[in-house]
């Protein structure tokens, strides 16, 4: 019985596995350029890191209530979650281009759900470079900061990484859904995809009210890294965003995915119904 179920499950994932495996093979085929790309994504991560280091070093002790090492904990959590999401979901953000080139129509001719096909149509292994850098920063920050290690801290850390990843993935899907409407203005979605990434690395205490609303709740970026990190560090959090809200990261992730799936469904309907 269990065998039959496993067999059915393996048959179910076979299409996705076949496509992804081919993407992995293709990317590893060009070793020299793959290594250059790995290095390149790490450099991008490094410049993002430089911003945090420069700003918090220029500060007079603390900035927005955090010192440099505390800020690096927020950065490491956010950066790792984002980079992993970018690796698996980043190409969903180029949907407008894929609509223009007609590759989306090809997906309609295959017997799997569209979004599942699109997500598994590619993987950017080169982003491992950026993830690796994020892991280093995160480990250093966890060691240097005063974290009260125990089951609670481990659970917080795991929850933060999983929910942060889910929220960033949801943002990519929301962007994809909206790009069905924004074929010539798809940069609009950069505002919350990349703006959201940027926001997630900041202490929420420095946000102006409009940003608190947008990136605290509409796109719940504060739940990716800042709030869980404040719980880990025993810091109070920000006005409107107290640290204890960090425990609600799974709810924030569920909310982000609700928005994402609604945007996706609206986009697909628009494409089938109104687009041309």
């Amino acid at each position: 019985m269990g065998d039959g179920l496993a067999g059915r499950a393996s048959e179910l994932v076979r299409p996705y596995r076949a496509v992804l495996a081919s993407r992995v093979r293709a990317q590893r085929a060009y070793r020299a350029s793959f290594r250059a790309d790995l290095f390149g994504t790490a450099v991008v991560g490094l410049t993002e890191l430089a911003e945090v280091v420069v700003l918090f070093s220029a500060a007079n002790g603390t900035l927005g209530g955090l010192d440099l090492m505390q800020a690096l904990l927020v950065f490491g959590l956010a950066e790792l979650a984002f980079s992993n999401a970018d690796m698996l979901f980043g190409h969903v953000d180029s949907l407008a281009r894929q609509v223009r080139s007609g590759t989306v129509d090809i997906l309609y001719l295959r017997p799997q759900p569209l979004l599942a096909q699109l997500v598994t149509s590619d993987i950017s292994l080169r982003r491992v470079g950026r993830s690796a850098l994020a892991v280093v920063v995160l480990v250093v920050a966890l060691v240097v900061n005063d974290v009260d290690w125990g089951p609670r801290a481990v659970a917080l850390l795991a929850m933060s990484l999983v929910c942060g990843f889910a929220i960033f993935c949801a943002n990519f899907v929301t962007a994809g859904g909206l790009q069905f409407f924004l074929l010539n203005a798809q940069e609009v979605t950069n505002a919350f995809v990349y703006g959201g990434r940027h926001a997630s690395t900041q202490p929420a205490t420095v946000w102006v009210r409009s940003i608190t609303v947008i990136f605290g709740f509409v796109f719940p970026m504060a739940f990716c890294a800042y709030l869980p990190a404040m719980l880990l560090l025993g810091e109070p959090g920000a006005e409107w965003l107290p640290a204890w809200l960090g425990w609600y990261a799974p709810a924030a992730a569920a909310w982000a995915w609700t928005v994402a799936l609604l945007a996706w469904r609206a986009g697909v309907r628009h494409y089938q119904g109104g687009g041309g």
Partner: protein, 264 residues
């Protein structure tokens, strides 16, 4: 010279057809502007209202001018000439009477100048209305600033062109491009003002052409740097531009020879 002015004007007009994209870019810029001004103004506040010569007003000016310039300078991507170099199509361009390097840069600068209208000006408008950024009250900083801006935009495209010429010799330029993007993003002062860097990093930045792309025009335009200091920055920009153009010219000639040897 007339031919390059024509090409520049054509680039300007071409870009006017991408208005929706420009407004979309503006929305993204505004979001980043709000995020950056939040943390940078807190930084100035915590420093007692003044930090490395920045006040709240001039810091806001930095944020919104740098965001406004993003549609006009090229820090991120390879220019269209790089694609033609890589594919070898550039060989056709060599048959035309216009200089390949200047024509290609003129086109990009034309597009960049147009982007000031839908992206640059509104961004500054947002800054003035929403966050009260400081702008100088005299005329001179604007006149100098306009020259500095033009030099900075042209320099960014001249450097991007130079980067693209690597395609004459390298099979894959993407690794180099990403590296360039990272280094340029930091050293132009896009991510944070160069003057907030620790001393050693600031020294490195000033030794490269990158601050001349963005940091100097912003300093001159916002009135943070005035008088002879401003004129000095303009001279430095002009110097870097001359150097970048000369290097691009040399690389183009060498590349053309390589192409002809391979092609023949």
């Amino acid at each position: 010279m007339r031919v390059y002015a024509r090409i520049l004007a054509a680039g300007f007009r071409t870009q006017s057809r991408y208005l929706p994209a420009a407004f979309a870019g503006l929305l993204a810029n505004a979001t980043f502007g709000l995020l950056k001004s939040g943390i940078l103004l807190t930084l100035v506040d915590d420093g007692g209202g003044e930090l490395d010569g920045y006040t709240a007003g001039t810091m806001a000016a930095y944020v919104w001018l740098s965001q406004g310039l993003l549609g006009s300078v090229n820090i991120w991507s390879l220019p269209s000439s790089a694609e033609r170099i890589k594919s070898g199509d550039i060989a056709v361009d060599f048959l035309r009477p216009a200089d390949v390097q200047l024509a290609s840069i003129a086109d990009d600068v034309g597009r960049g100048l147009f982007a000031l209208i839908p992206r640059g000006l509104p961004s500054v408008g947002v800054g003035v209305l929403l966050v009260g950024m400081a702008m100088p009250a005299q005329v001179l900083p604007y006149a100098l600033g306009a020259v500095s801006l033009a030099l900075g935009i042209t320099l960014s495209h001249a450097l991007a062109y130079l980067l693209g010429t690597a395609g004459f010799w390298l099979v894959e330029v993407r690794g180099l491009q990403v590296l360039y993007m990272g280094v340029a993003g930091l050293l132009t002062g896009l991510i944070t003002p160069v003057w907030l860097f620790p001393g050693w990093l600031e020294a490195i930045a000033v030794a490269t052409p990158f601050p001349a792309v963005m940091m100097y025009p912003i300093d001159v335009l916002s009135g943070r740097t005035t008088g002879t200091d401003a004129l000095w920055l303009l001279a430095v920009q002009a110097g870097w531009l001359a150097l970048a153009l000369a290097a691009g010219q040399v690389a183009t000639r060498l590349g053309r020879r390589t192409l002809e040897v391979q092609g023949g």
